[in-house]
């Protein structure tokens, strides 16, 4: 197939980025009210990470079905039955100041100019580095979830599950349910932390019950659960990983050797919470603020999910971590706000419908907030990043180098980046930004002073073959040559 640059920028009412719960909700509600909508997602189908679909070639048995898989299928069907134009396997690589959305796919380049842009690009997982975190076999909790729930693969003969938040139990349970072995569960949260969030979790008795069922099953299997512990080291031990854990609390990591313990597993699934993905809002130069209980840096929004950039709206975890159920309502509110700003619904109708969604949102938010509390950034965790730990994986930059650079005068994230190369690699800092911000914050005093890395295009590395398409030398539009 001949790949061409689609020079035409397609005009459209609304573009929604991300087809997870928030994106699908925003796109469908906008479309139902008459807007011409395109939804773009780099995956093969909708559902985001939380409702990621198994390959269509697989035949799933009834025993696989769960409330999650049903909800995922429901959302996917809802989307495909709607008038929303879907663009799966399309990757957004740039958005201009005029909101032209540029994408790349196997078909080449394609751009849209929407009147309203709704961002639903979700969250990233926070993983605070420790010696050995780069070893093959160490993976995120989200990665482990994808393996189990959408690929039906166990991570290994035995897995250590570590970190914090509800994902921890969810992953451990999923491993056990699939017939696998969990060597240990290493939870940052102390028992008293769980007790503290319990009241908020009561707002969703169904989820709470599910969680307790999981906990009971795990205990029944004889799996040791360490509360108030963190992973401080991971080492290769033949074909397994020897993982050192140490007590952790609000004053930090207790590295006294006599309190350390050793657990073993073929793999380690670890995740220290979720962070809203700000790569697009930073690229657009939207205003951000640091909100610990929303997962960290979030775009500044009004109560109808408008960002500081005119005609740019945001929903779902990208606007602040609060889970899949809240995402749907946030998505609808963002969709309604966009419709309002495009004059496609009346002020009265938008106020009324947004109000309804907000009431529903308030009901779901409590549980999400409890989860967000458990998944919050814990500054004391940077103690596990020892001097010899690699922090920026893309560029192999050690903690010692980062510390030295701060001492020699790098006072904000962008300067630190210029001097160390942290964040200059293919992941553009998605993996290490939060950790490095935390390190810098411990010296300069606040996240606001440390700042964030400037957002840049391309949002993801672009395969050169896709961007150049088929061409001949004379096709290349040559601007005027330089003077002699």
């Amino acid at each position: 197939m001949s790949k061409v640059i689609d020079d035409n920028v397609q005009k459209i009412d609304v573009v929604v980025l991300g087809a997870g719960p928030a994106g699908v909700a925003a796109a469908t509600i906008a479309s139902e009210h008459g807007a011409d909508v395109a939804i773009i997602d780099e995956n093969i189908s909708g559902g985001g990470q939380i409702y990621r679909a198994p390959p269509k070639e697989y035949e799933t048995h009834d025993s696989f079905k769960s409330p999650e898989s049903y909800e995922g299928d429901r959302q996917r069907n809802y989307l495909s039955n709607s008038k929303v134009k879907t663009y799966f396997n399309y990757r957004v690589w740039s958005i201009s100041q005029e909101l032209v959305v540029s994408t790349i796919s196997a078909n080449g380049l394609k751009s849209w100019r929407p009147k309203a842009l709704i961002l639903a690009n979700g969250a990233l997982e926070r993983i605070i580095p420790f010696p050995g975190w780069t070893l093959p076999g160490v993976m995120g909790l989200a990665a482990c979830t994808i393996l189990l729930k959408s690929q039906f693969v166990l991570p290994g003969r035995s897995t250590v599950v570590a970190g914090c938040g509800p994902l921890l139990m969810s992953v451990a349970y999923a491993i056990v349910k699939a017939g696998g072995n969990v060597s240990a569960i290493v939870d940052l949260s102390s028992k008293s932390e769980w007790v503290r969030v319990f009241p908020k979790m009561l707002s969703r008795p169904d989820l709470l019950l599910q969680g307790m069922k999981w906990l009971w099953k795990l205990k029944n299997e004889g799996i040791k659960i360490y509360n108030g512990y963190t992973v401080t080291k991971s080492e290769k031990d033949n074909d397994r990983l020897a993982i050192t854990i140490a007590p952790f609390n609000h004053s930090g990591v207790n590295t006294d050797p006599k309190f350390q313990k050793l657990v073993e597993g073929e793999c380690l699934a670890i995740g220290h919470g979720l962070i809203p993905s700000t790569e697009i809002t930073r690229l657009l130069k939207a205003k951000h603020k640091y909100d610990l209980l929303k997962g960290g840096w979030v775009p500044v929004i009004d109560d109808e999910f408008r960002t500081s950039i005119p005609n740019v709206f945001i929903a779902g975890d990208a606007s602040g971590i609060s889970g899949a159920f809240s995402a749907v309502h946030k998505g609808r509110i963002a969709g309604l706000s966009a419709l309002r700003d495009l004059n496609m619904i009346s002020l009265k109708e938008s106020k009324h419908k947004i109000n309804n969604e907000r009431n529903l949102l308030n009901k779901t938010e409590n549980f999400g907030q409890a989860a967000a509390y458990l998944m919050r950034s814990r500054p004391e965790l940077i103690k596990t990043i020892t001097a010899e730990t690699i922090v920026c994986r893309c560029e192999d930059v050690f903690r010692a180098e980062i510390d030295e650079t701060i001492v020699s005068g790098a006072v904000d994230m962008n300067q630190l980046k210029a001097w160390t190369r942290c964040g200059m690699g293919p992941c553009q800092g998605r993996t290490c930004a939060d950790s490095i911000e935390a390190i810098l914050t411990s010296v300069v005093g606040s996240r606001e002073l440390a700042g964030q890395w400037t957002g840049r295009a391309p949002l993801r590395p672009i395969p050169i073959e896709q961007i150049i398409g088929d061409y001949s030398y004379s096709d290349i539009p040559i601007p005027e040559s330089a003077p002699l």
Partner: protein, 90 residues
Amino acid sequence: MAGNNVTRNSYVTVTIDGCEIQAPAGEILAVTLFVNGYRTLKYSPRIKEPRGFFCLMGSCQECVVLVDETITPACQKLVQEGIIVKTIKI
């Protein structure tokens, strides 16, 4: 390694570092590599540490391999009949 609540009906043949491997059609390449023992996919730039997949979501870029000579994140690629995959040695 497989869970017991799914049936994989069709398979494709892919070549990984010279070996022909059968993989279920539709599987994520990073997963195929992993279950077949290819845990090290590349080496890090300065200290040459072995690296494999990490986030599986297309964010970290650690799982890049060569698919028909092209640098590709394995977690963003589904296996296809006949693809030639090489782990990155540089």
